[in-house]
């Protein structure tokens, strides 16, 4: 039987289609386009992302399923995809000057970024374990290459190789888990798995449990939870800084998007069990991430460990569950995208080919040399630390509020104390920028301005403050989108 597709099928995946097709167009445009300028490619990518975001808005409020139910479009996927598109757009803005400056001006860069974005979007909008896997692979393979983009740089190559080896390993776990789950339940569709698990015979099948455990391990690698986080600091440090910005905000959110679908839509009958496992993972991720971040002198490494801690906070929301908790996952991912990309954007702006400025020492007196950028960095650090009136606080507040509502008092106390620990190293940046004297060299090397970078920083700062002061609209949207998940 030949399956028939209607135009409705294509409408439901319109944003993904736009992103993938344009990814190929960008590649061709680079081949046959106007010579060596990568600027036009960047603009084309930005337009693509904007159009895709517009398509998302059209899909908002509907609940469509396409291609025999394999792909879906509901508010949950729309909200997550908007997050991915935001992250990618910010990454493009951050990348433009960096690529020209370092002569990594390849068309593949933007094309790969679009493919990675498409992969993430697939992960958020499918009920099929196999498609989640495919989306993850599209994302991962693109990211491996992005990490190694600076071909002449040893650290970049190391980063790519390490990411590839450990990533492949993790994917193997995931795929094995999917296979076992398929073997036990006879389906790769989350809704069928959910129905199958209702039968005690299936539920008690050890394959189900082993499969679930393997899937969790696979995702724990991807979103860098302790003890599966070993690759993170090296990869983040070695990768080109704009790519690091992308990696720490985008794929992480995508991992959560897929994990939530699997756990809530497919395996919610096992919630008492997996939530205990995740409880432990959340606690050790927060604690290890924060404690390790304390000792870093390299800001990229510090942000890498801090991203592990932030994954821990998001995991708290997932453990808590419910509309409020899962809504917190979405809200926090969005908030994190802004504050994290913003911080990286400043690292990119302050650095140049001659002088990488990625250690704390490089920022002594920065707040006086560059008052506006210093202030922006201050805002991002406050947000990462979770100080009121910033997006980071709103996100943490939502997460801890729902944790208390569900009776997770100890988890909340551990989380809150962890965020106190984190204040120390985020404030170290502030201390360096404002309270240590600038050395002569850094006084003389003022960053060379770049409109796209300023735009990225402004947008991030605006996002951080807007979500921090008026979080209501996004809180409602995220809670509503979670309500649309099947099985709720």
């Amino acid at each position: 039987m030949i399956p028939t597709f209607s135009s409705a099928d294509f409408f439901a995946i319109l944003p993904e289609l736009i992103v993938f097709i344009m990814g190929m167009v960008v590649l061709l445009f680079d081949l046959f386009g106007t010579g060596r300028s990568t600027r036009n490619l960047a603009y084309l990518t930005l337009i693509t992302l904007a159009v895709a975001a517009y398509a998302e808005v059209l899909l908002l409020g509907g609940k469509l399923s396409a291609f025999a139910g394999i792909l879906v479009s509901d508010d949950y996927s729309v909200v997550f995809e908007l997050i991915f598109l935001t992250v990618s757009a910010l990454t493009v803005l951050v990348s433009m000057r960096f690529l020209e400056d370092r002569h990594v001006g390849f068309g593949e860069y933007y094309s790969l970024l679009l493919f990675a974005t498409g992969g993430m979007m697939i992960m958020a909008s499918t009920h099929s374990l196999l498609l989640i896997f495919i989306g993850l692979e599209i994302l991962s393979i693109s990211s491996y290459i992005l990490c190694g983009m600076m071909k002449d740089d040893r650290a970049s190559a190391e980063s790519a190789l390490k990411y590839f080896l450990l990533g492949a390993f993790a994917t193997g776990f995931l795929l094995y888990g999917v296979a076992l789950l398929y073997g036990a339940t006879g389906s790769i569709d989350l809704r069928d798995i959910r129905n199958a698990l209702a039968a005690p015979a299936v539920f008690n099948n050890p394959l189900v449990w082993i499969g679930t455990a393997l899937i969790l391990v696979g995702f724990a690698f991807k979103i860098a939870l302790v003890p599966f986080h070993m690759w993170t600091p090296d990869v983040y440090q070695g990768a080109p800084t704009p790519v690091t910005a992308f990696l720490s905000a985008g794929p992480k959110a995508a991992g959560f998007a897929a994990l939530v679908r699997i756990l809530i839509e497919g395996l919610d009958i096992m919630q008492p069990e997996w939530s205990q496992v995740l409880w432990v993972l959340a606690v050790i991720s927060m604690t290890v991430g924060n404690v390790m971040a304390l000792q870093q002198d390299n800001i990229k490494r510090m942000l890498a460990y801090s991203s592990i801690a932030h994954a821990g906070y998001i995991l708290v929301a997932l453990v808590v569950g419910g509309e409020q908790g899962i809504g917190g996952v979405l809200f926090y991912s969005f908030a994190y995208a802004f504050m994290n990309t913003g911080a990286f954007a400043i690292l990119v702006l302050a650095s140049s080919r001659e002088k990488e400025r990625v250690t704390f020492r490089d920022y002594a007196g920065y707040g006086y040399v560059e008052p506006v950028l210093g202030l922006a960095m201050f805002v991002f650090m406050l947000s990462l630390a979770g100080i009121p009136l910033t997006a980071g606080f709103a996100g943490k507040f939502q997460i801890f509020k729902s944790a208390i509502d569900q009776g997770f008092i100890w988890l909340t106390i551990i989380g809150v104390l962890n965020s106190v620990v984190s204040i120390y190293y985020y404030l170290r940046m502030v201390v360096t920028m404002y309270m240590l004297p600038a050395d002569a060299e850094s006084l003389n090397t003022r960053a060379q301005g770049s409109v796209p970078l300023y735009l990225a920083i402004t947008a991030s700062a605006a996002g951080v403050l807007y979500l921090g002061v008026f979080p209501s609209a996004w809180l409602e949207l995220t809670a509503r989108s979670v309500a649309m998940l099947a099985g709720r």
């Binding site: 100080i387 208390i404 509502d405 809180l475 409602e476």
Partner: protein, 523 residues
């Protein structure tokens, strides 16, 4: 006097922001311009806040000048402000001291003057906000955000060990307030379970009858955050560091206003919300207060550094305030509220005068001075008045507060009152001894021979403080009249809450009616 819905409190809170915006347009090099903009802004803010004294209706103990606007509807957060007799004078103290601190810091800021002034104004926003916020979320926002300007004041404009002091200050305060956040979230949850309403309004929370084990934990979390801020013994160690390293303006604000946030937190939140836990913790907190009073005084005796001496004297004086609060009777609490004010004035004043001599000699060591009275007579007299006020000399302000506190404490715990009274003598010893060594005798150090006496500006800084010191000391009635009804109301609230807990037959419904806060009238 009616102010139909005029948002006077918001105006007071956010008026300094106008100055901040103006300062952003001031040329970085033009320090004088920055100072004038700040002086005018903070002066205007004080003038705006001053009429509160007359507009505030003492006959009505509830919150006045109430503003309530939905802010984050999803969480039930309101922008909710209000003022009662307890916060009235704290707001006035904040606006006054900020103004005086700007004037006092006129010549002492050596670098980044414009940024210094911006920081000071932002600090004022946070401080006024803390004292009038009636929504716990809003309170927490002001409480945390206000930390950062203070952190910058110490860390950027402080002396040698400023980084250590700044970080210690932030870490102490942040870690203690983190648990308070958990407690706030828990109260929010309890309130929701009991009433079905998402609300952070402290007026709604007052009506809750929190169950017993929970009440102890919640009180402990709140009390820890506030005790660090007060600071109570043994959480006081950040204070001497912060004070010694902070610039004069920072010390004035820190001692004058920031420490009051701790005691204010007890009286506004921790005690009325958890009356039974308050009763249970009273012996412990009274003991800690008395230890703090004596310990602070003894440490003062051996300080070679004037600023450190004043800093430790704060530990002792704030111990008095806590003692009065936990006496939980009219005299004790009234005395405490008045003493919060007195301490702000006299210790703020002490830091100002120490700052003045520091500016001239760049040292605060007592041993460096001697015989100053001969070269700086005006300075010496003003210094003496402030010292005497801090000691609690009858007819000056400190006496009224301490006397009321001791009377109140004696009624519930004579032993504590008697021990605390000893500290009044100790205060006389360490402050007068310091005064004697600095001002009397012959000038042994040649550097002190040509010190300039106070110019008009510095006299103007101290004059309002002196006026207040004498006024409260001689005729405290206007102040006590405004404070009294709110204090009575506070005590009633704690007592009825406690009775309700002890009487298991009391229906929660009846309790709600009993403890109902009188409706706040929009003015």
């Amino acid at each position: 006097m009616t102010l139909m819905g005029f948002p006077i409190l918001s105006l007071i809170i956010f008026a300094p922001l106008i100055g901040v915006v103006l300062l952003l347009f001031v040329d970085r090099q033009s320090a004088t311009m920055a100072k004038w903009v700040t002086l005018v802004t903070s002066g205007a803010t004080f003038l705006i806040s001053l009429p509160l004294y007359w507009w505030y209706d003492a006959a009505q103990p509830g919150f006045q000048f109430v503003e309530k606007i939905p802010w984050i509807a999803t969480w039930g957060v309101n922008y909710h402000l209000g003022l009662d007799g307890i916060s009235l004078f704290l707001v006035l103290l904040t606006t006054l001291l900020t103004f005086l601190a700007v004037l006092g810091a006129w010549t002492s800021v050596e670098k980044h003057t414009r940024e210094f002034m911006i920081t000071l104004l932002l600090l004022e926003v946070g401080m006024s906000g803390v004292f009038v916020a009636l929504d716990m979320f809003l309170f927490f926002v002001f409480w945390e955000v206000m930390l950062f300007p203070m952190y910058f004041l110490i860390g950027v404009w402080g002396s040698e060990r400023r980084l250590y002091a700044a970080i210690k200050f932030v870490v102490y305060t942040m870690s203690s307030s983190a648990l308070m956040l958990v407690a706030i979230l828990f109260m929010y949850y309890l309130n929701f379970k009991a009433t079905g309403e998402l609300s952070f309004s402290v007026e709604n929370w007052y009506r809750l009858n929190v169950g017993l084990p929970a009440q102890y934990w919640l009180f402990a979390a709140f009390a820890l955050a506030f005790a660090v801020k007060v600071p109570m013994f043994p959480f006081h160690t950040w204070l001497p560091d912060a004070h010694v390293e902070a610039p004069t303006a920072g010390s004035v604000i820190l001692a004058g206003v920031l420490l009051k946030m701790g005691t204010y937190g007890f009286i506004r939140f921790a005690m009325p919300l958890f009356p039974e836990a308050t009763a249970a913790a009273t012996p412990l907190l009274i003991t800690l207060s008395v230890i703090g009073i004596i310990y602070g005084a003894l440490v003062c005796m051996v300080q070679p550094d004037m600023k450190k001496l004043v800093a430790y004297s704060s530990v002792s004086h704030l111990g008095f305030v806590m003692l009065g609060l936990f006496a939980l009777n009219e005299q004790g609490v009234q005395g405490s509220v008045l003493q919060m004010l007195n301490h702000g004035i006299s210790t703020g004043g002490l830091f100002l005068v120490v700052g003045m001599i520091y500016e001239r000699r760049h040292t605060k060591a007592i041993a460096e001075f001697g015989g100053i009275i001969k070269v700086m007579p005006v300075y010496s007299v003003l210094f003496l008045i402030i010292v005497l006020s801090s000691i609690g000399l009858p007819s000056l302000n400190g006496f009224i507060g301490e006397y009321l506190i001791l009377v109140g404490a004696y009624r519930v715990n004579p032993a504590a009152a008697i021990i605390a009274a000893v500290a009044v003598i100790l205060a006389a010893v360490y402050l007068l001894w310091m005064y004697q060594r600095v001002f009397f005798g012959v000038i042994t150090n040649p550097k002190n021979l040509h010190l300039k006496d106070l110019p008009l500006r510095e006299v103007a800084v101290l004059a309002p403080l002196i006026l207040f010191i004498v006024w409260v000391g001689v005729y405290p009635k206007p102040f006590l009249d405004k404070i009294g009804p709110s204090v009575t109301h506070f005590i009633e609230m704690v007592d009825t809450g406690r009775m309700a807990q002890q009487d298991p037959m009391t229906e929660p419904k009846a309790l709600t009616a009993q403890r109902d806060v009188p409706p706040a009238e929009d003015r």
